[in-house]
Subunit: 235 residues, 2 copies
DNA sequence: TCTACCATTATTGTCAACAATATGAATAAA
DNA sequence: TTTATTCATATTGTTGACAATAATGGTAGA
């Protein structure tokens, strides 16, 4: 498997490249949500033909970042509070599953890695509490590692290839809270790692679900009060 | 929205058609799992060009029915007991979520529809207990309705467009048990509907998870004993 | 002035040919 | 006999052109 992997990852097709580029542009808001994606325009912009571009659009559609209507074309997905809630609900149960499975199969090195991350996170909070860019990435990293540790490849793909970028998109577009919660989040992260180290799968699942639910409620609270945080394209 | 939907669903593109045809062929085993999908051969078979065919393959890849290697091509996904377990684990939590959300928002007509289905199911068990084709479809229908009732569009898409066909694929390929369990399954279904009608979301989730877990354990038990049920392409 | 219809234009869907890469067989060397 | 290399073949990746459909603007009629 290593050999074939090594053999194939060196080759990067045009459609692959433009898929990654487009995905990043969409997630960071460079291409605003709701906007139309014209095939001729994009093809010209990237200096490629429409074939690989359509392939890329197809893949973006698969991870719910763009929507396509037959004979009409592709648009960047329209954000809404409703969709954000849906994504959180799904993450809640899927990452709960990830934590549960990880509790069974996580290794000591993986546990150590998570503890190091928590330590860095702690330092980060004291240092630049405020618009804490670090925490955000640190949070993603934390969740990432647990998902990977679940060893459920389908779950990993679902969370890391599809929902992850959608999540990032919303974080970038809606102003991002979570800094107000980073102390709580840190404690919750620690408890989750403790449960996993104790191989208490049920507890790990419950704690992870609670953690994501708390995050969801916090985000919604912020959005409810700061209505100006809602980006112009949201319905 | 109804108008635009009505307007656009009448148009069916070639790639759309061939996507549906290929998906069905794969699910029912007409195209065996693990087999290579040659673009020229398939294009010729369906009398189309390679363009829309590649689009269809791309969509099949998105729902995990085919795997593609760059510069190598597409193959129907390889089945394995490991993957089957992974899918069941994911369904367990996602359909648990669906049941929980459905408990909040399900309508009385939807409840009535489910009860009718259970009644038909009951009759079906008495009539042709054995290789009960009806139960299988009835089971799918039951789960489908609850997923729809969750009103979470992302969840609906995930379960009905992606996991559903994978599930069917495994059912068709591995001999399918579930008839041995149909009496238990019926009771479990009834309890789930009861919980939803009582708007007891937590209970509905727990019962649905337990139901799918029981189904998973049953399938694995069958596969463990009847090793000849495992299809030739499984590793 | 407003509405309905029509034609023009632009965009998407499809195709067939070309380029680049991988596969497999045949040959040569060890 | 086995392994490495090379070449021929087939397959995938990409392109540009053509066909079909939708969006747009203007005109005629009410």
């Amino acid at each position: 498997m290593d050999k074939s992997l090594e053999k194939h990852t060196v080759t990067s097709s045009i459609s692959e490249d433009v898929f990654h580029k487009l995905r990043e542009s969409i997630v960071v808001g460079e291409i605003p949500s709701g906007s139309k994606l014209s095939e001729p325009a994009l093809a010209k912009e990237y200096g490629i033909s429409r074939g690989p571009l359509r392939e890329a659009l197809s893949r973006l559609e698969a991870c719910s970042l763009v929507e396509r209507l037959p004979n009409v074309g592709a648009s960047v997905v329209d954000l809404s509070q409703q969709k954000l809630i849906e994504i959180y609900q799904i993450r809640e149960v899927l990452e709960g599953l990830a934590a549960r499975q990880a509790a069974y199969s996580i290794t000591q090195p993986e546990i150590n890695g998570l503890r190091d991350l928590l330590e860095q996170h702690k330092i980060g909070i004291h240092k630049d509490q405020g618009h804490a860019y670090f925490q955000k990435e640190g949070d993603f990293d934390f969740h990432f590692r647990i998902i990977q540790a679940s060893k459920n490849t389908h779950l990993i793909s679902l969370l890391c290839n599809e929902l992850y970028y959608l999540h990032r998109l919303y974080r970038y577009q809606f102003g991002m809270p979570s800094s107000s919660r980073s102390n709580n989040a840190l404690k919750e992260h620690k408890n989750i790692v403790d449960a996993m180290e104790a191989q208490d799968a049920e507890l790990a699942e419950i704690l992870m679900r609670r953690h994501i639910k708390a995050s969801r409620l916090n985000v919604l609270k912020q959005l409810g009060t700061d209505s100006n945080n809602i980006i112009p394209y949201a319905k």
